[in-house]
Structures are given as structure tokens and as C-alpha cells.
Amino acid sequence: MGMNYLFIANVCIWLGVGGYVLFLARQHSVLERRVRQLEIIDAEE
């Protein structure tokens, strides 16, 4: 029984940390793409 709780706790921790890391990675890639696009537009104008 204790093993089940240990497993659930591990799943929660790695889902929480992994989810946050994925959120950061996605946010960075979107922002970096946007910065590049805007710098090109800025240079053209």
C-alpha cells in the first residue's frame, strides 16, 4: 500500500516540475520567434 502512495507522490512531483519546464520551454520558443520577427520588421522600417 505504501508503495502505491510513494508512486502517486512521484507522479505528482514529476508532472508538476515537468509541466512547468514544458511551459517555460514553450514560452521561450514563442517569445524568441516573436523577437526575431519584430527585429526583422523593425530593421525593414
Binding site: 500500500m1 502512495y5 502517486i8 507522490a9 505528482c12 512531483i13 512547468y20 523577437v35 519584430l38
Partner: protein, 231 residues
């Protein structure tokens, strides 16, 4: 804003991954199985570092908020927001793992114990602080309003830390008794994991701060383009 270089972030991320791997080895292979609770006690090696680093994060929010009031510099306000976000994540995970461990050890998912209650209040206070930040409260004086909130929010943190000592609590105060009832190998695993989670905490803070810097660059570029278009 301080500039965070992606290469430094990458090195830090690799270092924290290596530290977490060593931490996992210490939990599963070095630390012995606890005699009374059995394997479920190993939740402790995650639960304690998560709780401690959330305290560090909230102390950081208070310190950064004080720096906003003192210097008026924007980067302290950004840092306060970043630390609050990661503090809410870590304290949330500490609450969840504590609840699961409580179910195994005390046969209940939740009890209105002083330590548990004050921790839940702390989580809601900082979650509310994040909601207020995203709502852009205070207009032109927003940074100062957020700074005052960041300092006031910290009032609950010492209460959480001392609650298990001040009032009758079923939650153990690990540092209150010498040795905390743990074997030396268990303490080794605890400290390795505290350091590993600290490395991950530092990496997440810098990564999030870097993201905030990118967001500022996008906003600045948009303003520049808008000004050029209007000319």
C-alpha cells in the same frame, strides 16, 4: 533587466539535472528503509526540500519587493514575480506530497493542523499575489503596490515555520529535535536532495527571468515599430 545568457542557463540546467540524478540515487539506493513507515517515508526526501526552497522563494519575494521600494528599479519587481511563481509551484507540490504521505502515515488526506493550515494559507496568499500581478493592479504605481503586497504576504511565512513548535501539531518539526530521528545515511540523502532541488530552483528562477526579459524585448520592439509607423 539583468541579462541572462542562454549558454549559462544551459550549463545550469545540465548541472541541476546531474544533481537531481545524484539525489535520486541517494533516495533509492543510499538511504535505508524507515522501520515504522516503510518505503512511503521516502516521500520525505522530496517533501522537505520543496518546502524549504518555497520558504527561500517567498523570502526572496519579500527582499526583492523591499528593493523595489528602495531603488524603484523594474528588474526587482520582475524577480519578485518570478520567485513568487516558483514558490507557489514548490509549496503546492510540498502540500500535495505532504497530503499523500499523511494519507499513508496518519490515515487521512488532510487535517486542520496548525502547520498544514498555515501552509495552505501561505499558498493561497501567494497565489492571490500572482493573480493581482497579472491583473496589473495599481496603474502607474503598480510596481510599488506589488512591492507592498510582496512584503505583507511574507508575514505568514515565519508562522508556517514556527507553527509546529508553537502549537500542538501532529506535523513533526524536523530541525527542532537533534537528529530529527533520522539515521546518518538518511541525513546525507536529505542534504543531497536539498542541494539538488536548490540547483533546480536556481535554474528555474533564471529561466523564468530570462523569459520575462524576452517579453520586455517584444514589448519594446512593438513600441518602436508603432512609433515609426506613426511618424
Amino acid at each position: 533587466m539583468f541579462r541572462i545568457y542562454p549558454k549559462i542557463l544551459m550549463i545550469l540546467a545540465c548541472a541541476s539535472m546531474a544533481a537531481m540524478a545524484v539525489g535520486q540515487y541517494a533516495i533509492w539506493f543510499h538511504a535505508p528503509e524507515e522501520a515504522t513507515m516503510g518505503l512511503v517515508q521516502k516521500v520525505f526526501y522530496f517533501h522537505l526540500p520543496l518546502a524549504w526552497w518555497s520558504f527561500v522563494a517567498f523570502f526572496g519575494v519579500c527582499a526583492a519587493s523591499a528593493m523595489v521600494l528602495w531603488t524603484g528599479r523594474e528588474h526587482w519587481d520582475v524577480l519578485a514575480g518570478v520567485l513568487a511563481e516558483i514558490g507557489v509551484l514548490f509549496s503546492g507540490l510540498a502540500l500535495v506530497t505532504g497530503s499523500i504521505w499523511g494519507r499513508a502515515a496518519w490515515n487521512t488526506w488532510w487535517t486542520w493542523d496548525p502547520r498544514l493550515s498555515t501552509t495552505l494559507v501561505m499558498w493561497f496568499v501567494y497565489a492571490g499575489y500572482l493573480v493581482l500581478r497579472s491583473a496589473d493592479v495599481g496603474g502607474g504605481k503598480g510596481a510599488k503596490v506589488r512591492a507592498v503586497l510582496g512584503i505583507v504576504a511574507f508575514l505568514d511565512v515565519p508562522l508556517v515555520f514556527l507553527s509546529a513548535r508553537l502549537w500542538r501539531s501532529i506535523h513533526p518539526a524536523v530541525l527542532a529535535s537533534r537528529g530529527g530521528g533520522l539515521e546518518p545515511e538518511m541525513w546525507t540523502a536529505v542534504w543531497i536532495n536539498v542541494l539538488a532541488w536548490g540547483a533546480l530552483f536556481g535554474t528555474l528562477v533564471l529561466a523564468r527571468y530570462h523569459g520575462a526579459g524576452l517579453k520586455r524585448r517584444v514589448e519594446a520592439a512593438l513600441i518602436r515599430i508603432q512609433e515609426k509607423t506613426l511618424q
